[in-house]
């Protein structure tokens, strides 16, 4: 049983490269549409405001909390359950409602009136408008910086064709992950951005290991039939891809299931990113290398002809 992965398979991955392109393009477009129409559920880190996390001694319904907050005119605040036991909630109040210290006092007062001492404030976060704006900018900068740095590194270690082939899937992974977050309305906060950056590193990691095999095979047999070489390289690496993605998925899944509420969004982004990162290494990055290589070679060959004719 344990040796079923030992046999090097001979799957023609690139036979369906067109379908791969279509699926990926559709996914990216769909993600962009969702992102632009539905928008993100941006976390406090980016919007600013006050968030108060409260844990009650016994089960409490959201409607009861809302009723309590009506006493201090904060009934339109966002109230979100944490976990599934109906004992812990996050109350988020927008910046427009006033100073954070006053809001915290108001919420405390309202809860005390309704629930007595049967609650505990677990966490208070306040983020000013300036910081939110800055964090938003810094997140975009950091994603761009990662992409540029990676482009340079891969361009240096491999050929330019590989660099492009490595970076385009990264956009693909990041956009789809964000698209899924927008679709299910999961909160996008700093931790999620961190997860996406990690996914970029991970997805690339996966791509590079296949590229490395392609490079090795090119050295052995030349570039003549790149398509076959790429297919062969993916096949040779398949057991590794399955195993590594598997072990990483195990770890992230453990984080998602047992890591507690504060890491849930973070673990989810990693989970989605790893799945699409693995997919994109095989179905986006590898075919891109083949096609880009063919395109550039045709072009240079064409130029060679014209120069000869002249």
């Amino acid at each position: 049983m344990r040796n079923f992965l030992d046999k090097t398979p001979n799957i023609d991955f690139l036979k369906i490269k067109k379908q791969g392109y279509i699926v990926s393009t559709l996914l990216v477009i769909a993600s962009l549409v969702i992102i632009f129409t539905k928008g993100f559920n941006l976390g406090l880190d980016f919007t600013g405001g006050t968030s108060i996390q409260v844990k009650f001694a016994n089960r409490v319904d959201i409607s009861q909390i809302r009723a309590a907050l009506r006493l201090v005119n904060l009934q339109d605040s966002m109230i979100q359950e944490i976990g599934t036991e109906k004992v812990e909630y996050e109350i988020r109040v927008s910046l427009k409602k006033g100073k954070s210290s006053e809001i915290v006092q108001k919420v405390k007062k309202a809860l005390k009136e309704k629930f007595g001492d049967r609650f505990e404030i677990r966490k208070i976060d306040y983020i000013g408008a300036v910081v939110g704006e800055e964090l938003r900018k810094a997140s975009v900068y950091s994603i761009v910086a990662v992409l540029v740095a990676i482009l340079l590194y891969v361009g240096y270690r491999f050929e330019p064709v590989f660099a492009i082939g490595a970076v385009i899937p990264l956009f693909h992974d990041a956009i789809i992950t964000l698209g899924i977050f927008a679709l299910i309305g999961e909160e996008v906060n700093l931790a999620v951005i961190a997860a996406i950056l990690t996914v970029l590193g991970y997805s690339l990691n996966d791509t590079i290991i296949i590229f490395d095999r392609i490079r090795e095979n090119i050295k052995l047999r030349g570039k003549k039939n790149l398509l076959q070489l790429v297919n062969q390289s993916i096949n040779e690496n398949l057991s590794r891809t399955i195993i590594t993605s598997g072990t990483t998925l195990f770890s992230v899944l453990a984080l998602y299931l047992f890591g507690g509420e504060s890491l849930k969004g973070f673990a989810l982004a990693l989970l989605i990113g790893i799945i699409f990162g693995t997919y994109s290494s095989i179905y986006v990055a590898s075919p891109l290398v083949v096609d880009l290589d063919r395109f550039f070679r045709k072009k240079t060959a064409g130029e060679g002809k014209t120069s000869k004719a002249a």
Binding site: R2, L5, D6, T8, Q53, K55, S100, S101, V104, E120, I121, R122, K123, I124, D125, Y126, I127, V130, V131, L135, A138, S142, A145, V146, A149, Y153, R157, L190, A191, A194, T198, G201, Y202, L204, N205, D206, I208, I209, D212, E236, N237, S239, R240, I243, T244, T247, T248, F250, S251, V252, A254, L255, F258, G259, G260, S262, L263, F266, A267, L270
Partner: protein
Amino acid sequence: MKTELKWKLIGVFAILVASIYFVISKPIKLGLDLQGGMSIILEVDVEHVIKTQYKQLAQDIRKKLKENNIDVLSLKVSEEKLIISLLDPTLNEKAYKVIKDNFPQVDVQISDGILNASFSQWELNRIKKLTVQQAVETIRNRIDEFGKLNANVSKLGERRILVEIPGVVDPDRAKAIIGRTAQLELLEVVDSAYSKEELLKRYPEGIPEGTKILEGIPEEINGQKVKEWFLVKDTPIVTGSQLKDARASVDSRGKPAVNFELTDEGASIFGEATAKLIGKRIAIVLDNKVVSAPVVRSRISKSGQITGDFTPEEAADLAVVLRAGALPAPVHILEERVIGPTLGKDSIDKTLKAGIAALILVGLFMIWRYAISGFISVVALLFNGLLIWATIVFLDITLTLPGIAGIILNIGMAVDANVIIFERIKEELKRGRTLRVSVEEGFKRAWDAILDAQITTLIAAFVLFQFGTGPLKGFAATLSIGTVTSIFTALFVTKLFLDIILGGKKSLKYAF
């Protein structure tokens, strides 16, 4: 065993011992998200300081020009410069020279017969830097006075300050102590009234130059709440910077008050001024509010008293902030996070559970797939965990919740290098090579792929470290450390153990 292997084994053993030593020598530093506490990011309003500096400069320039027999017609203070016009414009050149010679930190220009003076860029930068530095020191003093010695106060970027107080704190009291400017000023009172309108009515042409209107604090007189408004001279006689000491006390009516004492320099200035002001009122102004305005009965020099509607606790807190020094500029709270201690404990418990689950799953899988070698890679994985822990302690890195997540992610990724190598070895074995040759080839060929893969992860982690804040930095840090240590354990340690176990054997059942 070969001598070379022996030395390598001794090396690995030495690292193991050193790691264990670090791990048990010092507890790991936990971030606020894990141990509970409060963190605040403040922004220093440096513009405010520059404005006050301009006011001070205006006063100094006026004085210097007078000494040189140059009469000033008007001297306007704006946000970024002084506009000086002289009674006799022919003296412009002379005034220019006087300012140039006496105030090297100032750039002067004459345009349209009017002198413009502004601080040089160098001076502005110096003021900004000094202000933030002073603010950091003042806040640190204040927190120290409150016995929170393990708090961290540090500069964050150009004009921001990060304050982290671990443990249980009363956020409101902490903010009041940290964020209070506590700018004490003693100002000459020109006029006063019980409403702003009434006061303004007396000056139909606008309030005189060099004065401003300040609000008093509400007081109860004959059972009615009233608030007095004051017209005061703009420039203070003395300020809190000339304060030597401040103590909580009680006033003549037995109510809480704060007594203060001036420095020798402050006392001599104040004495001189009060001698001239007998029969007039002096406003004691705290953060732009008049807390009291006693009438000067006689020359006062050294000490004074601030009375107001204080509770004993407020008086004590005020004495502390005055004693620790005024903030050189107002500060604004940009970000504030308070984490209760139970949440931190919950987080540790949960992530620890996740980590153990990940380790067991990955470990079992590796042994199932790679038998003896799989077991070796699990040992290497544990060793890697120990190394990460030791490095965190050694480099004094603060462990945060995302930091733990970084370590857990690492468990999955760290075996990657071993998987690449082992799969490679299996391939070689399939081609009919001997165990020895296959192992050597496997390690040699996998090297490039592993290096490229790990470097790209490092790039992502490095960028995250640059741009990230607080907890995210923790994630980037553990991820980077894990990436580096896993190269060592996956390539060097596993190879060593394999070499020892395989020895000279041509083949070994369940080796892979």
